[in-house]
Symmetry: C2
Subunit: 381 residues, 2 copies
Amino acid sequence: MTAPRIGVIGGGQLARMMQPAAINLGIHLRVLAQSPTDSAAQVIPDTVLGAHDDLAALKAFAAECDIVTFDHEHVPTEYLVELQEMGVQVRPGPHALQYAQDKLDMRAKLSQAGIPCPEWAEITSDADLDRFSAIVGYPLVLKTARGGYDGKGVWVVDDRDEALRVIKEIVASNTRVLAEELVPFTRELAAQVARSPQGQCVAYPVVQSLQTNGICHEVISPAPNLSDERATSAQEIAIKIAAALDVTGMLAVELFDTGERIVVNELAMRPHNSGHWSMDGAVTSQFENHLRAIADWPLGSPAAKAPLSIMVNLLGGDLGDLHLAFRHVMARDPQIKVHLYGKDVRPGRKIGHVNLIGSNIDDLKERAWHAANYLTGVIDE
Amino acid sequence: MTAPRIGVIGGGQLARMMQPAAINLGIHLRVLAQSPTDSAAQVIPDTVLGAHDDLAALKAFAAECDIVTFDHEHVPTEYLVELQEMGVQVRPGPHALQYAQDKLDMRAKLSQAGIPCPEWAEITSDADLDRFSAIVGYPLVLKTARGGYDGKGVWVVDDRDEALRVIKEIVASNTRVLAEELVPFTRELAAQVARSPQGQCVAYPVVQSLQTNGICHEVISPAPNLSDERATSAQEIAIKIAAALDVTGMLAVELFDTGERIVVNELAMRPHNSGHWSMDGAVTSQFENHLRAIADWPLGSPAAKAPLSIMVNLLGGDLGDLHLAFRHVMARDPQIKVHLYGKDVRPGRKIGHVNLIGSNIDDLKERAWHAANYLTGVIDE
C-alpha cells in the first residue's frame, strides 16, 4: 500500500511516540538517530544512524523519504533547503522552522502579524538595554535568540549589572540577545493546532501547564477556569500563527495568562509535551495528527474523550528502574496510563509520563501525581 | 530498565497491534515471523525469521525471551513444553492452549466445568452419528476438532448422507470429528477477560459480533439490548473458563445468544477480533492488558471511554490501495479511527479495521460501515 515514506530527524521520545500512530495508519516511518539505543531507535525498525547537523547524513537519509519531519528543531535551515532541492517535502519547512529556531525572528514576525507578545527588544549595546529597561523596568528577562530549551538559555535579571553580565555571556556564545518584559503571569497555557499544507487546521483544547525549573511537569486539559471566550482567543492566536508562518504539522503555542491578557511565550513546531494528554484523552492524538498533517491527509478530530485529562511528566529521580515501581502504581490505580521512553534515568531527565482521564480535577491530580512520584522515587508509599 | 523480554510467536496483525502497547509500557518485543514483510515484522525491530512449527527455530527464538506468547494458537503443545523446560514462561501455557487447539477437548473440559455448551458428541462411527442426530435432529453442525478458523472446518449438514460425506472428509484430514446441535441463535456475543498468572482477572464489556461468511465483520460494545443480568452471566462464564483452564493473557469466549439462553461457541486465547474496539474505546486496550497479564503485572481498567464503540473489519475487496481512499474517508468523518495491518489486499482477507466511539447506534453504524465500505471499494461515494 502506498502511504508516503516519512522520515523523522532525531531519535527522541517524540519520534518514538509517532510510531504507534504510524502503525495504525499503515505508514512506514524511518528515523535518523544518533545511536541504536535512542528512544525512537528502539521501536522503529528502519533506523539510520547519523547526526542531524551532518549534511551528507541528512541527504542520504532523506533520499529514501517522500516527506521529512522532526523530533526537534535543531537542523540548520540551510541544510533543509538542500533537502527540498532534492525533491523531498520538508514539513514544517525551513521558512517556518526558522521562527522556532530563532526567538528574535519569532518576536519580529509575530509582532508584525499582530500577535500579542510581551514587550521585547534586541539588545546589541548598553544603550539598547537602557532604553528597554526604561520601558519595562527591572527585573527583566534575557534570552539567547538560539539554542535554548527546557528553561536553558533564559535568565531573569534583577538589575543593570546582572543584565550586562548575562548579555556578555550570551554574546560570547555567538548568538543574538533578546530582552523581554517579565510578564506577571498567574499561569501558563498552551494552544496546539495541527495544520496541513493545503491549509486545513484543527485546534486542540487549550491546556494549562505547570513548569518545574523550566521543565513542563503537569498539563491539564482543558485549562481549568478558562472562559470559552479566552479559550477561543488562545486557539485563534495559534491558528493565526500557524497560517502566518505557514507551519505544517503540529504547532504548540506556549502562552502566559496574567488573568487580564494572554501573550505568546514560545513556539514549538512538532508534537509537544503539552499535548501528551491527547494520547489517551483525545479522539486523535497529536502524534497521529502530526503525521496526517505532514502527509497532507484530512486531519482527525482533536475533541476530548473525557471531561478532563491530566498528564504528569516522569522526571528522572532516585529510582533507576521504573518497572520495579510498576506493580504498585498499576495495582493502586487501574486507570493510570504509563508511557515510558526507554531512556536511562538521569536526575531531571524526562523519562516518561502518566496520563489519566476523568471528571474531578482534585481526584485526577492526587492520582496522577501519586503515580508519577512513586514511579520516580519521590515517595515510596 | 528491566521490563521482561516478551517474545511473540507469529507475525500477524495481533502481534503488530501489541507493539503500540509495548512501546508505551517500555516493553521490548521480539517476534518470530515467517517473512520480513509479515504484518508485525514491519513494525517490530527485533524480528526473527522462522516457522512456528520448527522446534529448533522456536528454541533459538525463546532462548532470548523471558516470556513467550502468541499471535495465533497453532504451535504444537509438545514444543511449548520443551520451551518451558528451558525455563521460559509460556503464556498461555500448553495446558491451557490445548483447549483452544482442539474443540473436542474444549467441549469435554467445559462440560465438565459446568459451562453451558451446545449439545455435542464425538463421532467415531455411523452409529455415533445416528445416536446424536436422534437427539438434536437435522440440520446439525460438524467440525474438525483441530485446524479450523474463520469459518473454515465447520459444516452445517442437512441430512444423513451429507453428514457421512463430511465426516469422511474430516477423517481423511486426520483429525477427530465433533458434532454439535445447530443452535438457533439470534445473534453472537463475545466476552473477553484478561487473566494473570497470579489469578487477577478483569472482564471487558460483553460485545455483539456480526459474522460474514464465518468471518467477524462488525463488533458493537457493549452489546445492544443485553440486560445487565445476562451481560454479567456472560462475563461470569468467561471468568470461570479462564480460571478452569488456567488461561493467562487475553481469553475471548464467543457465545451464541438464542434470546433464551447463552451457550459457548468457540474460545481464543490471545487478543481477538472482538476486542479491537478497545484500542480506541476502552481505558486499557486488549493488547495492553494481554501484555500486562502475561508479564504478571496488575491489569488495567477494561472500562469503556464512551457509551458505545463500533468496530468494522476491512475485508479485502476491489481496491488494491487503501490509502487512495483515505482522504475521502478521513475528510468525511474526522472521528473515524483507521487501523491498517500492512497486508497486501486479497479478497476476503482481514486487512484492517475502523473504530468509532459515540452514543447513537444508528449513527455509528452508518458512519463506520460507510468508511469500511469506501476503503474496501464496496462503494465509491
